[in-house]
Symmetry: C2
């Protein structure tokens, strides 16, 4: 029996990589003063329908529960955020700077590399309308990736302004109910032949092409770029008005993060959605808001393809998985003494392992090496002394068993 | 709109408590040389039916997916463990010492305090038949709780032996197909009137009562108790043959952990299940195994009711959530300089926050205190110096802006 198609088992090495990603995300988000929260994995299907329309249901793992409720495994976090913020916003000072790390589910068509679950970091700022918040959020997205050892040459944040386009479309006299369709065509223009795009745009083709050729700067985009340059992050960003983000609810600055090589799907994406909290909460709360999501799958691909980032991950994981001390039981008469030492060392926070059953000494040393132990303590003929072997240098010394703890506290916490 | 009944939202303070539990679990399990893994939240319903019979489906969140598969949100981890171990066991040296932290789901009847999701730590040792593994596993369960500041006076591990009972029933000439029923009666005997139990036991009443009165020691139980006493953990355990664990698949030592006051449900429970991997994998792998699960809900109740454990949790969470530096922008002309400093300090790992928009200085200091900042840096008239205020002592000094990083590295990492 296997896992369901599109679902992953996390064996220890894969789980280490997953946890490495989570730990880095958490670490950088906290540095920015973001606090962690989470919602349920299962929500009312209506919550998603309300945000994304009835079609979303085709992509969900959804069902009717034993209490006759229509429920769905969450495909994204934003609807839950709006629900929770609407219910609790009075308890918190604004702006909220919240992040969350969780698993999300979509019933995607089966394709190679297309999963049906993934993990996502969501970072949102709620209750601040100023562009200063947009700058802070984009800086966070950049620093999250820098935290993995990724550099200017590895990724780029492409920043655009949804409001630029809505103003443009209004100027061109395009009816509001056509905007979403035209934004969709602009969104796709990068990946299509110019002629095909022009044909779809019809009478707008000329003016849109002109904007795209000029780059379509405006004051808001300039302010965001200046803010990021002032922080020394200018090399990680450029403006690109072709980015419009498919979703209808964005209202201002939007951005997507891509690998520089352009081989992968977007690593992260988000923007300002000032009306969404109000819409999703039926007006119970009305707060300007902005946020982005970063998934684990594309990020892991980019780390895997970037030597420096891969090395940072591997050395961090190796160091974390290593135990510190392996207890070698060379004489079974010493097992009781050895186990007392195991308990003492663990009580003092050391990672310690030992053979559960009698085993040849050579095999025990082999296990110690495989587990990445720094020290081996040999309980045998030397009792009441214990041979302490440094498994990196190969140096060995005898230590009285009562002094083992202090000896290890000194030698293993020194570096 | 609210969360579904039985599902929790984790606002920042609740999320901190959840993460505190996870971090402690992870920390102690690693000290024991256990490595982390995880499986999917959604599995084939058949996997659970196979282990627990068709009745289990009544308690599941289960449905038919868009690919016509019968699927269920996982109610427990063991079936996934058996599946993964059967597929991969050759890749690993035995014994495996694996732990996992994840969310599990059951459609429980709605009752106050009864949730439909909870988090669980699972710890398993696969591939070791010796009682040394049972001792190691129970020691881990104890040290996990000690890691929360819980003591001998707060909880007790009650240890029993399923094999003791199967031998007893065989001696008494009871047919094997009756064993599960009788073990169920013994399991419940503690919470029922003696007369009622005796009536249900029928002809076995006399001999069972005699065993329960005597305590039913045997060599295996003595060996386990001796092993735990040798590690200094004797005060946390006693033998209690009334513990049989409801589930049919246990084959040897079994145990449950309870609060000493006896007010709460079991905090953890587990035991040896030597035939289960083989049974669940249709014989693809046959490995002795043992494990336990510890849930987050009862554990949190016990921590909440135990002053020392509650204080440890609160002080850890307060320290973790605090940012280190708050940047006070006293003159808006200095905002650019202040933001450069924000970036520099965050780049060096400090947790830093600042006002996104202009704010009165008094309000900024108030925010700094609320965020638990250690230092406030005031960017104002003193430029190119910056006033550094220690928010605990109230001491203040002027530091040249180029020396801020080194000054903070010294003062904030000192303690």
């Amino acid at each position: 029996m296997q896992a369901l198609p599109g679902f992953r088992d996390f064996l220890p090495s894969e789980c280490s990589e997953r946890n490495y990603v989570f730990a880095n995300w958490r670490n950088v988000a906290r540095r920015y003063g973001f606090v962690e929260w989470d919602g349920p994995v299962l929500e009312s299907t209506e919550l998603y329908r309300k945000k994304s329309g009835a079609e979303i249901v085709d992509q969900l793992f959804h069902f009717v529960d034993k209490g006759e409720r229509e429920v769905a495994m969450r495909p994204e976090l934003t609807p839950t955020l709006a629900r929770v913020v609407a219910a609790h916003e009075r308890e918190f000072k604004k702006p909220l700077k919240w992040f969350s790390i969780g698993q999300f589910f979509r019933y995607e068509k089966q394709q190679r590399g297309r999963l049906r679950e993934h993990y996502q970091l969501n970072c949102d700022i709620i209750g601040e309308a100023s562009l200063a918040a947009d700058i802070e959020l984009i800086a966070l997205a950049i620093d999250l990736l820098r935290g993995f050892g990724l550099r200017e040459s590895d990724f780029v944040v492409r920043i655009s302004d949804r409001q630029f386009w809505t103003e443009f479309l209004r100027d061109q006299g395009v009816a509001e109910d056509k905007w979403q369709e035209i934004l969709g065509i602009i969104d796709k223009s990068e990946r299509e032949l110019a002629d095909h795009t022009a044909q779809k745009l019809g009478p707008l083709a000329g003016s849109v092409t002109e904007v795209l050729a000029k780059g379509g700067e405006n004051d808001r985009l300039r302010e965001v770029m200046d803010g990021l340059r002032a922080r020394g992050l200018g090399g990680f960003v450029n403006t690109d008005v072709r980015i419009v983000r498919g979703l209808a609810y964005y209202t201002g600055i939007v951005f997507e993060v891509f690998d520089r090589a352009g081989k992968l799907r977007a690593i992260a994406g988000g923007g300002r959605y000032d009306n969404l909290v109000s819409q999703l909460s039926d007006g119970a709360a009305s707060l300007p808001a902005l946020g982005f999501a970063m998934g684990d799958v594309v990020l892991a691909e980019l780390i895997g393809e970037t030597a420096s980032a891969r090395e940072q991950m591997e050395s961090t994981i190796t160091a974390e998985r290593a135990i510190q001390v392996y207890i070698v039981i060379a004489k079974e008469e010493r097992r009781g003494d050895a186990l007392q030492q195991v308990q003492t060392l663990r009580d003092h926070g050391f990672g310690v392992d030992y053979p559960l059953v009698p085993m040849k000494v050579g095999k025990q040393f082999q296990t110690a090496e495989q587990l990445g132990a720094r020290s081996a303590l040999v309980f045998g003929d030397e009792w009441p002394n214990v041979a302490v072997k440094d498994l990196r240098s190969g140096e060995q010394k005898l230590v009285g068993h009562e002094d083992l703890l202090s000896d290890l506290q000194e030698s293993l916490t020194k570096e």
